[in-house]
């Protein structure tokens, strides 16, 4: 597979380590009253869709960027890749 790295262009997928569902960006508020239940979901529950999925890849043998890659898990078509840092900052900025 080839990954369209937003800074480096197409890179071989073997340079990356895979983590999984990009929802891991949304770490729950540790001070919320239901924090324990929210963390339980965050740590243990993942979606595993057949189809378009947003997931985290780490360019470990490269520039050490964490990427949010949008991939169709059925066809392996990669629909896009963003720097996870940009995605996380945008979410924090929007208060989401």
């Amino acid at each position: 597979m080839l990954m369209p790295h937003p800074l480096l262009g197409l890179r071989d997928a073997r340079e990356f380590s895979y983590l999984g569902d990009a929802r891991l960006l949304d770490r729950p508020d540790p001070n919320a009253p239901d924090a324990e239940a929210a963390f339980c979901d965050y740590v243990f529950l993942r979606d595993n869709p057949a189809g378009v999925h947003r997931e985290l890849w780490f360019h470990e043998q490269g520039d050490r960027s964490w990427l949010v890659v949008t991939r169709d898990t059925v066809t392996h078509e990669v629909l896009g890749a963003e720097l996870a840092r940009d995605v996380a900052l945008a979410r924090k900025g929007s208060g989401a």
């Binding site: 380590s17 540790p30 339980c40 780490f58 470990e60 964490w66 990669v78």
Partner: protein
């Protein structure tokens, strides 16, 4: 027999080879199969199950029958298809799956037992007694139904791996492939043309048709000359593209030196990973036989293969041949063979409207219904007009039609589609994107159509990537039609083979139907149809057609099984490439590796690292002697140990403290500059993850350490936290594990030694106390970092210098410390020292323990959030009452074994009464007995109690006393002195 006229062989170059020990001669340009046929050898193997005599069926990589063993000794290679083995001088080949000889095979008795050996027989027959399957039946069946054998020696050859990139990959070097490559080459695109054969041309080499009135080989030579003049074109002969992977990546194996007597300094094969923007699949078509009674005798082969042998290699298995066909192509074989002087006994065509294409006897609307000849064909039985006759012939060419080679186009779950006109599957939808089929693969069976298709497909592929290509002028070529009747097998009572390699007959398919194994995937697995090394290339469509007939459904309704890589067998060795033995994975050497090696150190693998395990001295005969000495030296005097392998991560930035606060369970932002704090990391699920030290070198600069094993993972998690969780923090990370050599200097005399090396630095306890750190220089200006930390429990330091000075620093320390008794110690003594001190390591931080269990519960700060803090408080984790304790045998000679489980004295040893387990154990020279660390239920409240450690694996148990985990200096006085 003598060679026929013509052929693409070099008659001036004779090559000597042996088959089953007998010497023969072939010619340069031969395959093993053509050379054997030239020497009248028709019998080349025995079938898999029934041990039936078999000859060659095909002239290509689809061959199911002629599997042979090549070479000898460690170079022995089983299951090689004689049809693709390029002959070389001195080649040794042997037949397989026969005993005592190919001509007389004792296990041919299986053929008489055939009624008991039908599809799935082993599931039905060998059911009882239950245990016999694994111990008796399966090994016996495997031995009887075998292929070739392995040498059982390590592979002596070298292999390589390579990476290629191109605009257009052309798979197949026949007419369509050459036309595609030509079109692309002239456009300036980067082209790779790969073909499995040692000679480009594909089917063009096997026909007599001319291109522009000259023999096709002349046109091919002109193409090759043009390609070789262009730097943008790479021709890869002997290269099989075996699979299509995601995003335009193709796997290919090049047989670099398989055709040479000795590989010399070359590798045997290379695994290529080709990244192509587009690919043209010009893989041609594969002929299929018609199944009829006893259709597997040596001498019965595919009609197209028979024509190939005559035209390309100038050989024919017999001087009298017959042809059995359901389509026009079979007549071409009769025509070409007749032109070479072969006697055509008859052409039997199933079609009533069939017309002869030469001066030979045509039997229209006829069927071949039987054959004779024990080790080779002597006669065939033909039925026509309600009459039956026997026709003498030494060979029979059979054509059941041509199957476009849809294999690669059907990877990625592409589904081929059925063509009624061609009675064959064509590449369908859903296959790999970027792969465009052309030529015979798309059903363009005439030469002219294939050439056009190749050129047009290449132009289309290039257009998709923005390259304009013009269609080249193509040579004039034959453009004959192809008509076929849908006949796949001849009815009859005797066995008619469908899958030759796995001995699957029409009867087996009928049985599968009767027993309701009707879906194709069930049919395949029940009868093993298409599951041999040839993957049913000549068998599958016929098998589907028979099942379709039985179920009354059409062939497309019956469907095909899934196509998967590899297209043709690939040796595991080439997939491994050069990654064998010490090259299996990278080896990391510490900066003092060669120093340690020179001192005779014994090394141990720690992940990728090679670490000194212990340093035996003359006269030490057991590792314990060395380890005890090294540990005692560190306790009583001075020990030196390379600890470079611990992960070292530099954390810098205005928010470094806050960042580490969120990573470690304890407070790090409050750490004073010049000080070090022990840190415990949790996983987000609340379990303990890793530990290490955080040293604050400046307000905005920390250096943290990780365990050796987790160095990479912790760094990955820290990057995750920095980029994904808290991108708003201004902090930067870099791993400096390899940049700094770090040496532990441990023992009461460590300060005295360091005082001799530092450049005017005050090492007094007041100026540089326990848990202090500093940047300084040593040995007259060498930049260094000094940390006063102790893994051993003694007064100790760790000193770091740039990695390239690690070796020299160790030498200097040993030299300056000689009078202080400086003793190098390895990982074993390091382990002893840390167990004696009660420090947790990998065995205690195994992902199943909590901060509470480690006795660090109070370290998890309640004042701040950190990774894992919320989950560490959840029910189940917080309530776990196992605590880390020390364990000492009541009998000083008693054993402590890690992995043992702990029980109250007199309690039964069961899951319900289990109170904990031992994580680490060693002999402690300090204590003079074995000691251990373990987790014991309410262990912190049970000091002094005697418990039992059970080791049921060895049927042993021992009485142990529960003691504090610190066996040495529990008050921590020594390390603070």
């Amino acid at each position: 027999m003598t060679r026929l006229s013509g052929g693409l062989i070099d008659r001036s170059q004779a090559l000597s080879f042996t088959f089953d020990g007998k010497r023969y001669e072939g010619l340069s340009g031969d395959t093993l199969a053509s050379a054997l046929l030239a020497n009248d050898v028709r019998l080349m193997g025995r079938s898999f199950k029934y041990h039936r005599p078999r000859g060659v069926l095909s002239a290509g990589s689809e061959e199911p029958n002629a599997l042979v063993e090549l070479r000898s000794g460690a170079w022995q290679e089983p299951n090689t298809r004689a049809t693709v083995v390029e002959l070389f001088d001195g080649l040794e080949a042997r037949s397989q799956n026969r005993w005592p000889s190919l001509g007389f095979d004792a296990l041919a008795v299986n053929d008489l037992l055939a009624p008991f050996l039908t599809a799935g027989f082993y599931y039905k027959t060998f059911m009882w007694p239950k245990g016999f399957w694994e111990k008796l039946y399966e090994p016996a069946i495997r031995k009887a139904a075998g292929l070739g054998s392995l040498s059982m020696q390590p592979d002596p050859d070298a292999y390589d791996r390579g990476y290629l990139h191109c605009d257009l990959l052309v798979i197949g070097g026949g007419g369509a492939g050459l036309a595609a490559a030509l079109t692309a080459a002239r456009s300036g695109a980067r082209v790779i043309l790969a073909d499995e054969d040692f000679r480009l041309g594909g089917r063009l080499l096997r026909e007599t048709d001319t291109l522009d009135e000259v023999h096709a080989s002349e046109w091919i030579s002109a193409m090759e000359a043009e390609f070789e003049s262009l730097p943008s074109v790479r021709i890869m002969r002997r290269t099989t593209v075996f699979g299509v992977y995601d995003h335009g990546i193709y796997g290919a194996v090049e047989q670099v030196s398989d055709h040479l007597p000795q590989p010399g300094d070359q590798v045997r094969q290379t695994l290529w990973r080709i990244t192509a923007k587009r690919a043209v699949l010009a893989a041609g078509a594969i002929e299929r036989p018609i199944a009829f009674a006893d259709n597997d005798r040596p001498g019965i082969m595919l009609a197209g293969a028979m024509r190939s042998y005559a035209n390309r290699w100038a050989v024919c298995p017999s001087e009298t041949v017959a042809v059995f066909t359901n389509n026009d192509d079979g007549h071409r074989t009769a025509r070409d063979l007749a032109a070479k002087g072969i006697q055509i006994a008859a052409v039997i065509d199933v079609r009533p409207e069939a017309k002869a294409r030469g001066d030979y006897r045509l039997i229209a609307e006829g069927m071949v219904t039987g054959s004779r000849g024990r080790l080779g064909l002597t006669a065939i039985e033909v039925q026509a007009d309600g009459k039956s006759e026997w026709i003498n012939c030494g060979a029979l060419g059979v054509s059941g039609g041509w199957n476009p080679n849809v294999h690669l186009a059907s990877h990625h779950r592409g589904r081929p589609i059925w063509s009624d006109d061609l009675q064959a599957f064509l590449p369908g939808e859903g296959g790999p994107s970027g792969l465009l089929p052309a030529g015979a693969t798309t059903g363009c069976f005439s030469t002219a159509a294939a050439l056009r298709s190749g050129a047009e497909t290449a132009r289309r592929a290039l257009q998709e990537i923005g390259v304009a290509a013009r269609l080249p002028e193509l040579p004039r070529a034959e453009e004959e039609g192809y008509k076929i009747a849908p006949i796949f097998h001849v009815q009859g009572r005797r066995r008619a083979w469908v899958d030759f390699q796995n001995d699957v007959t029409v009867k087996d398919i009928k049985l599968a139907h009767t027993e309701n194994m009707r879906p194709v995937e069930h049919l395949k697995r029940y009868t093993t149809l298409g599951m041999a090394t040839d993957q049913g290339k000549t068998a599958n469509v016929t098998g589907l057609a028979v099942m379709a007939e039985l179920t009354g459904r059409t062939i497309p309704e019956t469907g095909t099984t899934i196509f998967r890589p590899p297209y043709a067998p690939v040796a595991l060795s080439v997939l491994g490439g050069g990654d064998t033995g010490p090259h299996f994975r990278p080896r990391r050497l510490t900066p003092t590796h060669y120093w340690a090696e020179a001192r005779g150190a014994v090394f141990v693998e720690a992940g990728q690292w090679m670490r000194a395990q212990y340093f035996p001295l003359a006269g030490e005969t057991h590792w314990r002697q060395s380890v005890d000495r090294e540990a005692m030296a560190a306790r009583s005097g001075l020990g030196l140990c390379d600890v470079t392998t611990l992960g070292k991560i530099d954390v810098q930035g205005p928010h470094a403290g806050e960042f580490l606060n969120r990573l470690y369970s304890n407070m790090m932002a409050t750490l004073k500059v010049g000080r070090i704090r022990y840190g415990l990391m949790l996983r987000e699920d609340g379990f303990a993850y890793d530990d290490g030290t955080c040293a604050r070198l400046a307000e905005d600069h920390y250096v943290v350490t990780t365990t050796t094993a987790n160095a990479g993972l912790v760094f990955r998690n820290m990057e995750f936290a920095r980029q994904c969780l808290w991108p708003e923090l201004d902090v930067q990370l870099i791993s400096t594990t390899d940049a700094w050599a770090q040496i532990a200097v441990a023992g009461p005399k460590s300060r005295a030694l360091l005082a001799r090396i530092v450049d005017g630095f005050d090492l007094s306890n007041e100026a540089f106390p326990f848990m202090a750190c500093a940047a300084l220089t040593v040995s007259g200006g060498l930049r260094a970092r000094l940390f006063r930390i102790s893994f051993s429990g003694e007064l100790a330091y760790e000193i770091a210098v740039a990695a390239r000075y690690g070796h020299a620093l160790m030498e200097r320390l040993m030299e300056l410390g000689a009078d202080l008794g400086a003793t190098p110690y390895g990982t074993e003594a390091l382990g002893v020292l840390r167990i004696e001190k009660g420090h947790a390591a990998g065995a205690e931080l195994n992902g199943q323990t909590t901060a509470n269990m480690l006795g660090f519960g109070s370290m998890v700060s309640q004042k701040k959030d950190s990774i894992g803090a919320v989950m560490s408080r959840r029910e189940g984790l917080a309530s776990d009452r196992h605590r880390l304790v020390g364990l000492q045998p009541v009998d000083p000679a008693g054993k402590v074994v890690s992995g043992s489980h702990l029980f109250a004295e007199d309690a039964p040893h069961s899951f319900d009464t289990d109170q904990g387990w031992i994580t680490s154990a060693c002999y402690s020279p300090h204590q003079g007995s074995m000691i251990g660390l373990g987790f014991l239920d309410k262990g912190d409240e049970r000091l002094g109690e005697v418990i039992v450690a059970a080791n049921p694996l060895e049927g042993e148990s021992a009485r142990l006393r529960v003691v504090p985990a610190h066996f040495v200096d529990p008050e921590g006085v020594r390390l603070r002195e």
